[in-house]
Symmetry: C2
């Protein structure tokens, strides 16, 4: 090694020792002939002091120069110790000569402030951005999480298997990235959107428990939390029920939280069905760090004299739903207008509101509600004086959805969200299919390998009510974000074939795209299921960051470009010719 | 769980227990109304016995059916125990009803004999091939190796970082796989041939010690031990010398050997320079499981009366080199012919041979060698009676290379290779450049990021003798295969620029392809170096297999095709249109 110690380890016990250190100049303070230099590396900072011959070495140091120095450890003068640093009791008096250095050009941004810089500039100089300890620490956390994940799964007899990157299209609903084949011209590999089919085949092979921290690829138009390539913790198990998956994932998350945050995560997580989630929170990914449950008030609204409500609830599928904001009653006219604008923007016709005052409802429209009806409203929400009730009247599904959005919006405005809390929930029993109104056919709510609830399947396949069939799909939701999605899979050829047909795939297409899977199901396939967790998003939330780019070493920008390497880039005509393709 | 136990855990202590088992029917033996069924899973086998109501359950079982059964654990009748199985003391009497099953169609090959099957058929039914315990065990070994690698590196403060798969071409000498960009039409990502530049940038960022078990991609014409995608253990360290890399890699390999083979690997490995390797073994990847060192006999040959030898050694660069095969003297005329054919096939004009008999040389040409010269030959090889000396006379480099090949060939023929031994060697001090005779320019022997030996660099850059410049590149060789390659890297912009120019890159091309690296070197880059180990090849050798396909879950065949999924495959015209490309 070119150093005897790192910049994070010299302490009182080392006083008197001759040392060699390598690192980056963090700061330089010149006290006239006496220089104080903080030398930084991944492990910490050590104060160098340069005077006399040492001054000759240190006087040209600039921030972010790399230097290798030798010197002697000495006690810092009394009163100048830094109790916040492990190395804060000592300093190193640097000696002549300087052992090595590479200097740093003028910086495009100050390293310690890199996070405040324009993102494309950060990414162009990512190698400097990554010197910022506040940026580095996210990658160290990621490293720790990875080791914890693998330890937890290895202990539980999971086998880590690498599945191909050059493979065949899998139908996860996004565009594939394609790779032209030179040896088989006119044909293309697809980069995997997930290792879904391979992990199912591993179950058919009897591996029993599989995992992989897998790179996946989706050629989508990018949003803040999307990247062309992302990482998922991919798992599959045989001979299990949903609860077995939940338990393993909870254990893995316990291990991550302990390792990364030194927190004891409370398990098991709450389970709620898709229908419960929708009805109570207006979404299939409820944020339960706060309550504000959505209530349906049809029965009470029907007894009011308010025409809007009465009309809506008289229709099939009409509903009056709403939330109660605790102590939201101090809202001004302007606050109410803001909330109204919000729900209108979400598609509502309007927003009814009531302040709870002296056990009654106070509102421009309260005259349409008898004291008895008012009391029932208050009772329904278990509302107290000072609360604010907000109601939407519309078609049921739409009303619930808007109320769910309003719930999130109001909670944020009212600071009801505990930013330090991590709230995990399992949402279960998703519908198997959803109707695609544009293309006029059923499609899979999760993916077509999801097992139906077999009772529903038998019952509603006959009646053609495909929308009523529940599946064994489940999502893991953290603070209102979906961070994992899985299911018990189909493992019988006949069921798989029928599901493919139900979503409108023809026999020929089924064979071409999924023939190998159907074939595998003919050779003694076992029941199996699994899950994939979005590692980037999980870490982003866990570390309190606002973009998955913060936990990825070399992310692309929102145009799917790497400003540093300038990928993607034009290629030589010769390369295209060898691949047998042309630019259109 | 759908089972109470695996098929590998029921023992005497479980006798009397009601159990539920899941697994595959391995064998069925019918003793007339009494069936013995071996049920298999990843963990082992358990004997089921079916009679009475149980017979109704078991009588239709066929090999490779998946079944879920319930039953009671009982002691096997005396004399029928199987001491080779952990479960060999017990059997499970299966009870009615059968809990679940999926049947297996007629098999394309017998699972336990899958390795004897035509490879494309194996790969088409890889999900069945992978049921073969002899195939599964390689993937379990791989899993174990991975956990050991990461533990060893995590303990040594290495940080695991994922680098991009969608990136820019890196010059590792092979063709890139390209990925058309939809959002930036006419431009392409390249899949990485290695994470080389990213790991160097991580060093510039101060991560100090990095590793990744990384997928890499090379679009080459395939050979037995090549795959379009392969895995390397990629590492990089700052502030180090070559020896620091060697030590860490030795520790990692110790951990792998302990975990996978339960063997204590002897470290440190032997180090020998490129020049020593070439001179002594005629190759830069010597197999040192046996000796048979190549000797140069020019001085002695000059004193002979044999014209061929005298002519050759009188030329500059002419040489007589050879090996001595211990106890090879029993070779027949036919054996000698075979050896002669071998060296001729390698490009030699002929092969001279001498049997050592009674302390003298016995050969059709021995009359041209005086007793004194014969004695010096024998002394040079420390030969004993019964040995066989084989000599090549040719241009030095060529002669050494042929002698090296002959060395391997003869060792194999004579069974001198200890197949159980693992022999690791570090080969160091590779030349920095090699002359490309076809294209008439210098190229990098390893890659252009390799640091020159700075003394050589200063000296021979001036004289233009680029071929004499040694580098700090090193290879790790196992049993004569290169399994790792690394170097101390260049970390100064000026040196990097000069090396690029020396291999014939123009200024514009340098900027376009490597501008970001050169830029990074201007901001205080630290000295650094590293290595990449070929994980597939390492595991193949370690497990005594003959193809890397045996350690890859879903490999491609030698046409870069996956016979199971049929990737690569044609894609829809719409997809190509969206990507802005056409098939030529």
């Amino acid at each position: 090694m070119l150093r005897t110690h790192t910049c994070g380890e010299l302490m009182e016990k080392d006083i008197g020792r001759e040392v060699e250190l390598c690192g980056w100049v963090d700061t330089v303070r010149d006290h006239g002939g006496l220089l104080f230099i903080d030398l930084r590396d991944r492990y910490g900072k050590t104060q160098l002091v340069a005077s006399g011959a040492g001054w000759v070495v240190g006087h040209s140091f600039k921030p972010e120069d790399y230097v290798r120095v030798k010197g002697k450890v000495q006690r810092r003068p009394k009163g100048t110790e830094n109790p916040n640093l492990l190395t804060g009791q000592i300093e190193v008096a640097i000696e002549f000569p300087l052992l090595d250095s590479t200097t740093c050009k003028p910086l495009p941004f100050e390293v310690v402030k890199s996070r405040e810089t324009n993102e494309d500039l950060r990414l162009k100089y990512r190698f400097l951005d990554l010197r910022n300890p506040a940026v580095q620490k996210n990658l160290f956390a990621r490293h720790k999480a990875y080791q914890a994940i693998r330890r937890a799964l290895d202990e539980r007899h999971f086998i880590e298997v690498e599945t191909p990157i050059l493979t065949k299209s899998t139908p996860e609903g996004a565009r594939d990235y394609l790779v032209p084949s030179r040896l088989n011209q006119g044909e293309f590999y697809a980069l995997p959107q997930s290792p879904q089919l391979f992990k199912q085949l591993l179950m058919v092979s009897g591996f029993d428990r599989y995992f992989q921290i897998a790179k996946c690829f989706r050629d989508e138009d990018l949003r803040a939390d999307r990247q062309p390539e992302f990482t998922q913790l991919d798992m599959e198990m045989s001979f299990i029920t949903e609860e077995d998956v939940f338990t393993v994932v909870e254990k893995v998350l316990e291990a991550i939280f302990k390792e990364v945050l030194n927190q004891d995560l409370k398990t098991p997580f709450r389970r709620l069905s898709y229908q419960e989630a929708i009805n109570q929170y207006g979404t299939d990914k409820p944020d339960l760090r706060f309550d504000l449950a959505v209530q349906c008030l049809n029965e009470i609204a029907a007894d009011s004299e308010f025409k809007v409500f009465k009309d809506v609830v008289s229709k099939t599928d009409g509903a009056v739903v709403g939330i109660c904001v605790p102590q939201g009653g101090s809202a001004s006219r302007k606050d109410i207008d803001t909330l109204t604008d919000f729900v209108k923007n979400e598609g509502a016709l309007g927003l009814a509101y009531f302040k709870v005052v002296n056990g009654a409802l106070d509102s421009p429209i309260s005259k349409f509600f008898t004291p008895n009806v008012q009391g029932r409203f208050i009772q329904k929400f278990a509302a107290a004086d000072g609360d604010l009730i907000l109601l939407i009247a519309d078609e049921l599904k739409k009303a619930i959805k808007i109320a769910g959005a309003l719930r999130l919006y109001a909670a944020k405005r009212e600071n009801l969200v505990d930013g330090k809390r991590f709230d995990f929930n399992w949402v279960t029993d998703f519908p198997l299919f959803q109707w695609n109104e544009e293309e006029k056919h059923w499609e899979s709510e999760h993916h077509p390998f999801t097992s139906p609830n077999m009772e529903d399947w038998v019952k509603y396949k006959k009646t053609g009510e495909l929308g009523k069939i529940r599946s064994s799909a489940y999502d893991l939701v953290l603070n209102g974000s979906e961070i994992g999605s899985g299911s018990i899979r189909i493992h019988r050829r006949s069921v798989q074939q029928e599901v493919f047909e139900a979503i409108g795939l023809g026999k020929e297409e089924i064979e071409r795209r999924f023939g190998f899977l159907l074939r595998a199901f003919e050779f003694g396939a076992p029941p199996h299921g699994g899950i994939a967790l979005g590692v980037d998003r999980l870490l982003t939330i866990l570390l309190g960051l606002d973009s998955i780019r913060e936990v990825i070493a070399f992310p692309k920008n929102q145009k799917a470009v790497c400003p540093m390497t300038e990928a993607p880039s034009p290629v030589a005509a010769k390369q295209l010719k060898e691949l047998g393709i042309k630019i259109a």
